[in-house]
């Protein structure tokens, strides 16, 4: 659970600037940007996502490297299942 997963910001919600839709290797989910108030990511930026919160902004290259590492670690499928939120993400 110490491993974070890279995601690309798709949209920042207009009604809540601390909330964004990210694309994590094809899976979309809502994440919280509240831990990056001084360096707010914009749509198109890559962030490291840990337990549903953006922890840091990273470059596209670093994102690709991190995804490669997760694949090699055999953690990718599990990570994607987690990001899907065990069904919770579909409920509003």
């Amino acid at each position: 659970m110490c491993l974070a997963i890279p995601g690309r910001i798709v949209e920042i919600y207009s009604d809540n600037p601390d909330s964004a839709l990210v694309d994590v290797v094809g899976v979309r989910r809502k994440i919280d940007l509240g831990l990056l108030p001084d360096d707010k990511p914009a749509p198109g930026d890559w962030v490291l996502v840990h337990v549903g919160f953006a922890m840091s902004k990273i470059s596209e290259q670093d994102a690709a490297d991190q995804i490669h590492t997760l694949r090699m670690l055999g953690e990718m499928e599990g990570a994607i299942e987690e990001v899907k939120g065990y069904g919770l993400e579909d409920l509003n």
Binding site: M1, C2, G34, L35, L48, F53, I58, D65, E75, Y86
Partner: protein
């Protein structure tokens, strides 16, 4: 040289060169004991077969940085006891198979308890919004990587005046654990591979005492094979030069100063516990977080009767010795027999970040396969 997995690595040539540099620096004269603090590193070391490509005189000791592994069984029992009374028990997937004395959360679910796996503390809060007639308790675990997310979730709950949500807080802090390990008389370490993602939050400064007072080098490292190998080169260079510094190999992700907003969120919600019990390490002072008075309405330990159960680990299990690096996983009497990833006795066998599970999944199986092929 055995180079398992090297073809999968990015930049295999650079990997080979780095391994050559490690061999040159390590020489043959002495033995080096390096602790990787983070469980993510432990998992990566086994998965990538790094042990196979490092020279024999570099020994990697697996540190305490697996939050599931260091949590004493009594805390699991306490959390489950709260959930007996019509409370939804929400926790990360890592927690689900961790045994309490009466079984794991998953086994309690099978017996009818309302146990939910959540990816995020924010999802646990969402469960509370979706179930206004029920109370949702989030069983929080993790080091400084995860604690800010729990903190921010509680700040959101307070702002929204959500009344049916609480946190059973088991967050721990990495620095006192490193201190306890250094103070342990049976521990002889030369250097540390510092945790990557914890350091995105706390930065590199909190490690300075390790260099200055304990004269041990520490390099904050990324998780790729090349990251870890480069970190070992940096540590060997320091050791050869008689230096002890904090260095940051993972600069592309870890800022020297950490994440101030995350630290602010933690300071807003948490305060240090006077002491906390760690599995295998015993009681360590000021090593864990509790929820402060301002947020007491969201503190499960204040809201509910907590039995405060203290459970000693099964005598035959030697989790503590393995956790401190005194024993290798396979040297424990239960390893691979009574205790397996399918039926874990100790928590080190539960999480993929635990050294026993990592060892079992890679080294043990590899050995078994070699044994089988030699029979065939």
């Amino acid at each position: 040289m055995p180079m398992r997995f090297v073809d999968e690595f990015r930049e295999p040539e650079l990997i080979s060169k780095t391994v050559e540099e490690i061999r040159r620096l390590a020489g043959t004269e002495r033995h080096y004991r390096m602790m990787e603090v983070c469980g993510g590193h432990t998992h990566a070391i086994y998965r990538f077969g790094l042990k196979d490509i490092l020279p024999g005189n570099i020994e990697l000791i697996h540190g305490p940085g697996c939050p599931v592994c260091v949590l004493p069984m009594g805390r699991i029992d306490d959390g489950l006891a709260i959930a007996q009374s019509d409370v939804i028990f929400a926790a990360f997937g890592d927690m689900m198979r961790v045994p309490g004395t009466q079984g794991s959360p998953l086994e309690h679910k099978a017996r009818g308890m309302d146990v939910r796996i959540v990816y995020s503390p924010a999802d646990a809060l969402k469960l509370a919004r979706l179930n206004p007639d029920k109370h949702v308790m989030f069983f929080a675990i993790g080091f400084e990587t995860t604690a800010p997310s729990t903190a921010l979730t509680m700040m959101r709950a307070r702002a929204e005046k959500i009344r049916n949500f609480s946190v059973f807080c088991n967050h721990v802090t990495i620095i006192p654990a490193i201190r306890a390990i250094l103070d342990s008389p049976d521990m002889r370490l030369d250097a540390f591979i510092g945790p990557g993602h914890v350091s995105t939050v706390i930065g590199c400064r909190p490690y300075e005492w390790i260099a200055q007072n304990e004269h041990k080098p520490i390099v904050v490292s990324g998780f790729e094979p090349l990251d870890m190998l480069q970190s070992i080169v940096m540590l060997l260079r320091q050791l050869k030069a008689g230096q002890a510094k904090v260095e940051n190999q993972y600069k592309r992700v870890v800022p020297w100063e950490g994440n101030r907003a995350a630290l602010r969120a933690m300071a807003e919600v948490f305060q240090l516990r006077p002491y906390f019990e760690w599995r295998g390490l015993g009681f360590i002072s000021q090593s864990a977080l509790r929820i402060n008075d301002k947020y007491s309405e969201f503190d499960a330990e204040q809201r509910f009767e907590v039995p405060g159960i203290r459970v000693t680990d099964p005598k035959a299990a030697q989790c503590g010795e393995v956790l401190k690096g005194v024993l290798k996983p396979h040297q424990c009497k239960l390893f691979g027999r009574e205790c397996t990833p399918e039926h874990p006795v100790g928590a080190l066998m539960v999480s993929t970040e635990g050294s026993c599970a990592a060892y079992y999944n890679y080294e043990h199986r590899k050995a078994a396969m070699v044994g089988l092929s030699s029979i065939a």
